[in-house]
């Protein structure tokens, strides 16, 4: 019988992984504090919290998918498409709850399509979500002829600028999603099965667990969270941009892998993803504060991702020897 990953040894490894990224984050913060006097300020702190919110939400969805051994490359275009739908209805429909429901529905539908092709037709998730990425982008441009939607004042106030105390509302929404995800993965049957599917899909299936159902489920979760992220983005930006969300899949994958989730699935944690997402945002923020050109930034972020995946590979080697 395959070793249950939630044994003491497994948990210890997880903690080490987590403190690994935690240490890296702490080190980064120290370096940036020394390098820029503006880094460790309240206004920058709030700025980081704001920017984190969207990254965290998308990365949480990505974590669910990667845990089952899959990948969701369509998150960026999902965010753009849902954002377009949201803004479109917001301009003509005054009932904001209806707008939210419709947007979430679109996100879920995309998730269902992804899940159907991956779980039911057994097409590799890389191909399916890559294809959906293009389909999503095309639909976004079709929706209103590729134009941006501008001037969504009321929504902007609700999502973009509202604070409770000094914490942005969107960050609280992100933390809430994170906590729910953490609870599900840690303490529910569904959570355990998701890990199991990533660990060994065939064995899980033979144990009588509805693998197809859970696989479908994680893509739906990802789609749902993309819809949530899209509303946050449109709220912050006050513009629905058809080219929004580009590169989101890179960031989400990076955050998830840096946070200790394995590309092969079956191991990882939401807490790790949180650390990973914060790490990516702080890195970008620091580079911006230091005035580093956006091209060098891209190089740095790309290298960090490669490094993270490399470390993940080494981790796996050590784990298999243990």
């Amino acid at each position: 019988m395959k070793k249950n990953r939630k044994t003491f040894g497994g948990t210890m490894k997880n903690i080490l992984d987590k403190s690994g990224i935690g240490l890296a984050l702490a080190l980064l913060i120290v370096i940036l504090t020394i390098a820029s006097p503006y880094f460790l300020t309240v206004s920058n702190g709030i700025n980081i919290l704001m920017q984190c919110a969207i990254s965290i939400v998308v990365a949480v969805g990505m974590t669910f998918v990667i845990l089952t051994g899959g990948i969701d490359l369509s998150v960026g275009s999902n965010v753009a498409l849902c954002g377009m739908i949201f803004a479109m209805f917001a301009k003509s429909e005054s009932n904001i709850f209806l707008c939210i429901v419709l947007t979430v529905a679109v996100g879920i539908i995309i998730g269902v399509i992804n899940g159907f092709f991956v779980a039911r037709l057994n097409i590799p998730s890389f191909i399916v979500t890559l294809g959906m990425m293009n389909v999503g982008r095309g639909c976004t441009l079709l929706v209103i002829d590729g134009q941006s939607i501008v001037g969504l004042k009321e929504l902007y106030r609700i999502f973009g600028n509202m604070y409770i105390g000094s914490i942005p509302v969107i960050t609280m929404i992100a933390i809430f999603m994170l906590l729910v995800a953490w609870y599900v993965l840690r303490n529910t049957k569904a959570g355990r099965y998701i890990y199991a599917i990533g660990g060994n899909k065939e064995a899980t299936r033979l144990s009588g667990i509805n693998v197809k159902g859970y696989e479908m489920g994680v893509y739906i979760i990802s789609g749902f969270l993309c819809a949530v992220a899209s509303m946050m983005l449109v709220g912050r930006l006050n513009v629905a941009d058809p080219n929004a969300g580009s590169g989101y899949e890179m960031d989400a994958i990076a955050a998830t892998i840096i946070g200790g989730t394995s590309m092969a699935g079956g191991r990882g944690s939401i807490f790790g993803t949180l650390m990973g997402a914060i790490f990516m945002v702080v890195l970008k923020n620091g580079l911006n504060l230091l005035g580093v050109s956006s091209y060098i930034q891209q190089i740095v972020i790309g290298l960090v991702v490669i490094l993270a995946v490399y470390i993940d590979t080494i981790r796996k080697k050590i784990a298999s020897k243990a």
Partner: protein, 343 residues
């Protein structure tokens, strides 16, 4: 059975991939007199096309940039007046020259008589322009100039140009910003795609305006690649690192919207002033409520319309001026009352 389904799905995705790459909107079916590669189409049974029914291609980086939609609308109006067919083509990504080259090659294959175009890259477009000229297609350049050195080196024949004097327009917009902040203080520039001709000349114009003012200090220039979200994130960090900045010049409107969002989020509206360049209709609401202080209307409508006019003239064997400047104007809270009396 499952394999068939998988195969069909794969084919559908590849097909969608191809479609998504080049979005094409034709106003009417072309009845081109020269069919270069299209052997399958047999037009001989339909009536002989009249001499005047020219087919003109209208090629832009991307119609997701509103400015090009404005140009297209004006171009379509002129095309209708003059009785020519217009084929409007734009790629999905306005920064992608590869996609635009594909679109141009499609136009060449369709055998259009002329192409009115704005390049996504001033240097990258040259090779496919040479191809077009070899195929006998007449060209008119608007908005962003083709790079003169690359053109000369490739043996490209001179192409007439209509556009706004971007450098002068940016100068006006930045000068207005200087006035707003009382001629003194720190400013920054949010530029678009580095290396793009329009970006470089607008930047140069703004820098010149800032240099001309003694009390003004240009603190930093950061790129946001024409993106709204990117501009918001970049400016937020720039303002955090330089809290004493009083003025921001953005090299186009779509970035300025992001800058405005950043300024509003940090509660700095009115303290940090913002001007930009492009004159898109959506920017009007920003100017009206003061979140953007001014934008330079480069009259893309004039450019699109005159572009088509020139193309027809060239096809009729007439001469057109080598370079034409449009009448730029600044949209400010004061001037929009006159420019748009109904709003």
């Amino acid at each position: 059975m499952k394999r068939v389904v998988v195969l069909v799905v794969m084919l559908m995705m590849v097909f969608t991939f191809a479609l998504a790459g080049c979005a094409q909107q034709s106003t009417t079916e072309p009845s081109a007199t020269e069919e270069v590669n299209d052997a399958a189409v047999d037009e001989s049974t339909s009536e002989v096309p009249e001499e005047d029914t020219y087919t003109i291609g209208f090629l832009v980086p991307s119609f997701s940039n509103q400015g090009f939609v404005v140009a297209r609308t004006a171009a379509e109006e002129v095309a209708e007046e003059l009785g020519v067919e217009l084929v409007c083509v734009g790629a999905q990504d306005e920064t992608s020259i590869e996609e635009q080259i594909q679109c141009m090659e499609d136009l060449i294959a369709r055998g259009v008589d002329a192409v009115v175009f704005s390049p996504a890259s001033s240097t990258g477009i040259v090779d496919v322009l040479v191809k077009a000229q070899k195929a006998g297609i007449l060209l008119v350049n608007f908005d962003s100039r083709v790079d003169a050195d690359t053109a000369e080196a490739a043996g490209l024949e001179p192409i007439p140009y209509i556009g706004a004097n971007n450098e002068e327009g940016a100068y006006l917009s930045a000068e207005y910003l200087v006035d707003l902040i009382g001629g003194e203080g720190k400013v920054c520039i949010i530029e678009g795609l580095p290396g793009h001709y329009n970006n470089e000349v607008r930047k140069a114009g703004a820098i010149a305006a800032f240099d001309a003012a003694e009390g003004i200090e240009l603190v930093t220039i950061q790129a946001a690649n024409w993106g709204t979200e990117e501009a918001m994130n970049v400016l937020t960090d720039v303002l955090t690192a330089n809290p004493d900045i009083k003025g921001v010049f953005a090299c186009n409107d779509t970035m300025a919207w992001g800058c405005a969002a950043a300024i509003t989020a940090m509660n700095l509206t009115g303290t940090v002033r913002l001007t930009c360049f492009d004159g898109l209709m959506d920017t009007l609401s920003y100017v009206e409520d003061g979140t953007i202080d001014a934008t330079l209307d480069q009259r893309l409508d004039e450019q699109g319309g005159i572009g088509v006019e020139y193309a027809v003239k060239l096809l009729n064997g007439e001469d057109v001026p080598e370079s034409t400047d449009t009448n730029v104007r600044l949209w400010t809270i004061d001037s929009i009352v006159d420019i748009f009396p109904n709003s």
